[in-house]
Amino acid sequence: MFHFRRVYFFLFFLMSLFSLIFVSGKLIYKEFRSGYTNPFQSTYSIYSEHGNLLKNWSLEHLERFFGPFRERKEVGLPIEKIYIPEKSITHLMEKVPDSIKNWKKAYVLNNKGSLEKVKVRARGDNPLNWANEKKSWRLKRKKRLLKERVRIVNYIVPQEAQLISYHLGLKLAKTIGLLSADTSLVELFINDKNYGLYTKAEHFDENFLRNNGRMPVNFYKGEQYNSERKMMLNPNLFNNPWLWRKVSTFNQLKKEDFSDLESFFDLVRKAESGKKDFTLLKETARFEDWALFSAYQTLAQNWSGDNHHNNRVVIDPWKGNVIPVPIDSALNASFKDPIIDYGTNSILKIYNQSSEFLFTKHKILLDLLRKDVIGKFIKSESKELSKVKNTWSRDHHKQQFLFSNYIDSRSFEEKELEKEWEDYFKKINFTKKEIQKKLEMSPVASWYSKRKKLSLVVGGVQPVKDIEILLKDNMRSLKVVYWDKDGDGVISKEDLKIPFDVVGKRVIIRGLFYANRIIESFYPKSLKNGNNLANGSFEIVPTQFNLIFDQHISVKEVLARNGLTGIRTSIVNNSKNGVSPSLFNEPLFSKDASSIWMTLPLSLKVQETTIFDRPVKILPGTIIEMAPGVSLLFKNKLIVGGNKELPVLVKELEKGKPWGTFAIHGNKTKGSKFSHLHIKGGSGALIKNVRYTSMLSIHEVQGLEMDNLKLSHNHIYDDMVHIIYSKNIKIRDSEFFNSFLDTIDIDISKANIKNVKIYNSGNDGIDLMSSDIIVENSEIKNSKDKGISVGEGSLSKVVKTILRNNGIGIESKDGSIATINDSQFIGNKVQLNAYLKNWRYSNGGNIIVRKSLFESGNNIISSDHWSKIKVINSKIDQNKIKKSKNVKILTNILGTLSFVGDKTMKPSEFF
């Protein structure tokens, strides 16, 4: 008996030992494959610091076994269910890390309760995302079954103690107006097994751009981290386009064309040692975009997006700018002194040293803080916390969460989680208040004066402006004040003239001054532990600006204002020096020159491309002759004041040799007007990385009225008129003839077209993409392709308009709606057409026609399975209709039309 027991005991012991060896071996191998096959990945980040694999494994299994007994029954966050065949999971984990990125077959439970075929793969390069039982996933839908026009979504495992800070960070970015992914928190089931809390985030691709009101342009991903790091190459992302890859491609260039990124990096480098290049960089990486991004980083106290990691940029050739997109950017908070200015990467490192950039950023920051954007945001997000708590209680992967993220067990239990959140929100509040306090503080400055000079030393985060110098004597004869830029102690060519006011014994210097942001310098010994010269933290150093007057000054007192709040205070008089202003730290003045109007001469021969930054007037009768290939670009208000007798004429200088573009671009152009402007013989141009693909280009204009335009004979480029990223554009009483391809191309814009004739278009009469337009009382004739093409999520309203002899009268596609009233369709080869062309819009087109006339030998009205056409109360000969299944012709009432138009409408004499 005893012997029998001993045998069993021995066998049991032996089996346990073998199991232990097997499990341990498997765990070690898994760790080896996940963390050690890639030379740039260390295992420490996968398994906790102590690294006892067996202990972690045991705790995980115990939790998964006992967890369901103590979980809450109430559902928390929205549930999403994915079904991944075992075979797919096995293949994905078969040979990590090689195998994790292979798409595998899976299913998702859709809203209708049925299973939809999708593809899945593990998400992320860091093994934290996929090396453990609970993984981050990427899910791809079929092209024709998009959900809210999104094809790929990511389900990301929480990696922060608060569980929600990643989601909050990205949502805050979106709230303040950055181009950022949509995120939400969900409870994810895989194969009916609850995997608990996940952050669901939209994937960056072309759909993302389109869904966020952007043209499909180059969208770059820059990563030199983990498995994505390239071997034997300098990993500075901002120094090599090869280290980036496209997640969306601008379709007018080849996929392998990285020239836009290349010229951007050239500019970033040059800007650090050249003022002119810095000015060019400002036009490409606009302060308004990067200052908002940098302000967001300060609010979130998150400095991701460095020179190696987490960089996403959109390069839009229609705007000519580079836009940063935040990624992996959690909302961080602590009770530490918050950082206000930090240069996470090459570009932000330069920008945060510029007084002009800092002022733009600090204004945005203070505005957001004063509006309590964060407070309101947190308040609204807090409502979701009870749901998060429920989901967290049903999540049986807490052990994995704790050991893989080095989080102690505080967050394990519900009450501790509540405390963690309470603490987190207190920290956010603290950070918010501290930032505001720093920006609103009284000026930190001092001064001293000697003979004709006054030295102003500025410190602190906040700027100092309106330096009020109280003199002992009156100074009515003061003529000039200069900032001694070159430091030679006398007024010289390099120095900067500063505007000022004299009021009695007071001289008020109308400038704004910042303290230097000096890149934290290193003692050579500290160049370790990840520190290197590319680090972008700054020291704010008291900085001295020496002002030179044209006469002796005897100063009694100096007062100054906080440049952001305007609070005035007296500043101290001492002889303490500051450091010299750094390259980009210059005093800021209001630049009046940019608002002074200029008038073009009545006869102008343009020999080279000219850019006008100032407002421009063009007088009646002006004739502008353009040399081959040259362009005119107006970046401020433009008034073209032609009249019927004396129109303004823009034409080629050498007959038969096309010139470039007549372009108006940017927000400053708001309120521009073109009257009686006649243009012919132009083409298009590439000016400073901006593509102007038409003879008359209207880019990012927020209000433009045009009447009595006459345009004809454009060449080479796609469009005669291209309106893009614009609003409130009005075209009236105008005529367009013989365009090379499309006549009026409208992308992501709003426009109103009235009393317009468009004849003989080489392609479409009017071509729309994601735009809203109204066309009234117009005639579109002889277009080789469509009269009006309503595409890619556009809305168009066509009233009292004649569409005659076009290839297709009106076409609606890709989620667009065209409504037509009181119009005529005469002799178009196809009168109406609706279909799905681009899968990214998941729907076809809709056309609703009311009270209109159809006249043709054969009225072809076609619609595909994804689209609909309704013709209501219109005149159409029933015997001459050829229609497809999704076309409905309702109540065909003859002779009740309210408008039949002027069928004899003829083109007026042109040129």
Binding site: I28, T37, N52, N240, R269, G489, L533, P581
Partner: protein, 334 residues
């Protein structure tokens, strides 16, 4: 009983490495390190053995075996790859004749096929193809140039191949590209320089004060073929004893220091023309006063001493410098 105990002990001894590793990440790291070190040691020994007799055919066989092992380990970059590159580089550095390089062609073709983004393997492959298939060689160098346009090895090889094969127009094209290309740059897998890698972008000024304490101030605005002012702002007033200009640049660059200006509290304190300065170089050579030629892949350091006896306090230094690449050939257009 004794037999069972013996079995038990044997199992325990055999499995002890697993138990020792499973509960300590440090021990596991040591085990894993072996997977990197052992193959490299093994293959370099065998490569060296054959290099003694300059048997490059045998070297090719050993390198190909190492490559096969690396490839089977994991796709793309993996922990065995740096070892493979090191061993290959060791062998290729010993090549002197075309025939020897051609012996390595099978290995190098496989290397490029499996790791197409490695500049080194593209350059080596081009070298081995130089006489056999020059067009293919140049095609590989074109890709290498797209990957890291600043790498002078690419142009050196391209110019040599073009000259050798009488492709005059190619020589001109490569020379033009070489003179102005600035993007990218190499990085040694085994260590970071103070700029991480090298290239043609970074410089830094180290200011050493009277006490010998130094601080480093970076600037990443290096521009070729232009005389520019490079500005270095400090965080406080420093009494300068001497200066070191660190240059994270590739070999073959002529650095001409023209002038140096010292600022203090917004005032220009001193302008040093090149005649007022003494320069010495860490790796390079001075070709004329103020002109240094870089020769090393590691950052060049130029020590700068002023002839002033009195120490000057500075908070901003502006250096007027011109960077230019030296020609690689005296062929027309270069």
């Amino acid at each position: 009983m004794a037999k069972k105990a013996l079995i038990f002990v044997i199992i325990l001894i055999m499995s002890s490495p697993i138990f020792l590793a499973v509960n300590s990440s440090v021990r596991r790291s040591l085990y894993f390190l072996v997977t990197k070190v052992v193959p490299k040691s093994f293959f370099i020994t065998n490569v060296k053995r054959n290099l003694i007799h300059r048997d490059f055919d045998a070297v090719n066989v050993w390198l190909s075996r190492y490559l096969a092992m690396t490839k089977s380990f994991s796709k793309g970059n993996n922990t065995l790859l740096p070892g493979l590159i090191d061993v290959a580089e060791f062998a290729i550095k010993r090549v002197r004749f075309n025939g020897e390089m051609e012996s390595l062609l099978p290995f190098l073709s496989e290397m490029v096929k499996n790791w197409p983004e490695l500049v080194e393997s593209r350059v080596w492959l081009a070298r081995s193809l130089g006489s056999l298939r020059p067009k293919e060689a140049l095609k590989n160098l074109k890709i290498a140039e797209e990957i890291s346009s600043v790498d002078e090895r690419i142009y050196r090889e391209a110019i040599n191949i073009s000259l050798k094969n009488g492709l005059g127009h190619e020589v001109e094209k490569w020379c033009a590209k070489y003179k102005s290309s600035q993007l990218g740059g190499p990085h040694n897998f085994h260590y970071d320089t103070i700029f991480e890698g090298t290239g043609l972008r970074d410089l830094a000024l180290e200011i050493i004060n009277e006490q010998g304490v130094s601080k480093v101030f970076p600037n990443s605005g290096l521009q070729l073929n232009e005389t520019r002012d490079y500005s270095f702002s400090t965080d406080r007033l420093v009494l300068v004893n001497n200066l070191k200009l660190h240059l994270g640049i590739v070999p073959g660059v002529k650095v001409s220091l023209k002038e140096m200006r010292f600022f203090q509290a917004g005032k220009l304190k001193k302008v040093f023309a090149i005649k007022d300065l003494l320069l010495s170089s860490s790796h390079g050579f001075l070709s004329s006063p103020g002109t240094i030629l870089s020769v090393d892949r590691n950052p060049e350091t130029v020590r700068i001493f002023t002839k002033e006896k009195e120490k000057i306090g500075v908070d901003k230094v502006i250096m007027k410098i011109r960077f230019e690449k030296l020609p690689m050939t005296n062929a027309a257009g270069c």
